[in-house]
């Protein structure tokens, strides 16, 4: 473990171009996937929270269950889709960062949808009458509730980022862990482990944890404080 910490400090202090390339690709892929997952998952979650339609219960259970989607299965499904033998083969997206973004979006969207559904549902129970008195229809109510719950939803997005940044199965399968092209933090850790460079692997793991800490810290610093008086 001492070796690993030395290795991690060395990596950060003398972080070469190769490490920076891997770190920035990790961030680019996972942040983009989370952004896409929020664009799909937040409205979906809010809709599931306030709309009433047949099959809603099944959808709620379905999104909750999909939070447990194994990354390697998501990777396999996206692989079958993007392979030259698959329906989207002509797009030539396999083994590119775009393929990794798609796979992680598939993984993260159910998490964002399921967690935001719960957040919005709780809020909706509180504000239902007020929203009605303002004459807001479903669309308007969704937007208002999403905005009002933005602080809790930020935590939802961070949970999604945690899932995306930590998974290795999906990006390994659809990215191929190609040096300088699709190699990210987690696939590098897997590769170094398979080379028997365990100290290096743990060192990289510590760097990944520091990045997660930095992202969470940045979000915490940027989020609007509750102290500002708000007039809804």
């Amino acid at each position: 473990m001492g070796d690993a910490i030395t290795e991690a400090l060395h990596l950060i202090a003398f972080g070469d171009a190769a490490l920076w390339e891997i770190v920035s690709l990790s961030l680019r892929v996972s942040l983009t996937a989370v952004a896409l997952a929020c664009m799909i998952g937040l409205p979906l979650g809010a809709l599931l929270a306030i709309a009433r339609f047949p099959g809603r219960g099944a959808l709620v259970v379905g999104t909750n269950a999909l939070m447990g989607l194994p990354p390697v299965l998501a990777g396999l499904l996206v692989y079958l889709l993007l392979s030259r033998a698959g329906p989207l083969g002509p797009l030539e997206l396999l083994y590119t960062p775009t393929a990794m973004i798609i796979a992680q979006t598939v993984l993260v969207t159910p998490i964002v949808a399921a967690l935001s559904r719960q957040v919005i549902e709780d809020l909706h129970q509180e504000y239902d009458e007020q929203l009605r008195s303002m004459g807001l229809r479903t669309g308007g109510a969704v937007m208002t509730l999403l905005y009002d719950a933005r602080l809790s939803l930020l935590t939802v997005a961070l949970a999604g980022f945690g899932r995306a940044a930590a998974e290795v199965g999906a990006v390994m399968m659809v990215g191929g862990n190609i040096n300088h092209v699709t190699r990210v933090m987690t696939t590098t850790i897997a590769l170094e482990t398979s080379k028997g460079n365990l100290a290096m692997a743990v060192g990289l793991g510590l760097v990944l944890m520091l990045i997660a800490l930095a992202v969470n810290g940045a979000v915490m610093a940027l989020r609007p404080t509750k102290a500002v008086p708000r007039h809804v």
């Binding site: 952004a35 973004i101 092209v181 080379k195």
Partner: protein, 281 residues
């Protein structure tokens, strides 16, 4: 209050555009996809060979390193332009089924059996694989198999069969890792177990601890690698011209000499298949 939302959406869109812009920048380069094995990639061979080829041809070779079984399956789906693997029978079947154009002998190294330093099965120094495997099976000392249908796994099964032993899948001494070579070595080392490994991976492996190379030198342990161009008639996207350029270079005296010149800790790991290059060793 609602007015701030467009900024958020804009920021998200910008993020996605940046990601896609980075995407097109790399896609503009001239490259081929090489489906290959973990043993060749982990030893550092491609890190040595590919820059030489790129300097000469301008073609970038992107390596997807997986087990031979998965490499063959990916290539069958057209997800690769060139294939470098080590499982002769499966390679010949791949070409016979029309998935590959031709198979060429590229290079070889050999397999070795490694195990704990105290060697409870007493196989150290044996040069006959059959008797080594029989002693292993009789000793109840644990053996870790790749168990992943890779080239090494296919070879291991063939060796057991040649020794007249059929390890029961539930035998307590025979464990299937279902993982790549490096992960399997880590498991074998953690369990004080024996395993079959290609010499290149073993020599470049960083976590050997007290494990030793115990059995080597049997001709049955030869490990030949073949190179195959994936059939462009099967999948329209295959980059056959650049793929063939790469294969021609690998088989040329220059490419073969480069394979022979690759060293880890001063040791040659791969031996080129063509004789004119052997003269230069």
């Amino acid at each position: 209050m609602r007015a701030r939302k467009p900024t958020l959406v804009l920021a998200l869109l910008l993020l996605i555009l940046t990601a896609l812009a980075g995407q097109t920048a790399t896609a503009a380069d001239r490259f081929i996809i090489l489906q290959s094995t973990t043993s060749t990639e982990n030893s550092g061979l491609y890190g040595y060979l590919l820059p030489l080829f790129r300097a000469k041809s301008g073609i970038e070779v992107r390596v997807v390193a997986v087990g031979t079984g998965q490499a063959l399956r990916n290539a069958r789906n057209g997800d690769g332009d060139v294939l470098i693997v080590h499982a002769r029978a499966a390679e010949d079947a791949f070409v016979a089924d029309g998935h590959g154009v031709t198979r060429h002998d590229l290079m070889a190294n050999d397999f070795v059996i490694v195990g704990p330093a105290d060697d409870p099965a007493g196989i150290s120094g044996l040069t006959d694989t059959n008797s080594a495997l029989r002693r292993l099976a009789g000793s109840a000392a644990p053996f870790v198999s790749r168990g992943d249908d890779s080239g090494t796994h296919k070879k291991e099964r063939a060796l057991w069969m040649a020794a007249g032993i059929a390890p029961a899948p539930d035998a307590s001494w025979y464990r299937e890792a279902g993982s790549g070579m490096g992960a399997t070595l880590n498991i074998a080392i953690g369990m004080d177990a024996y395993t079959l490994v290609d010499r290149a991976t073993w020599l470049s492996f960083g976590n050997r601890q007290d494990h030793r190379l115990l059995v080597e030198g049997d001709p049955a342990l030869q490990n030949p690698y073949g190179v195959i161009l994936v059939n462009p008639a099967r999948h329209p996207g295959i980059r056959a011209v650049d793929g063939q350029t790469f294969i021609d270079w690998l088989l040329s005296p220059t490419g073969q000499a480069a394979i022979a010149a690759f060293r880890v800790n001063g040791k040659q790991l791969f031996f080129p298949a063509r004789s004119q290059a052997r003269a230069g060793e």
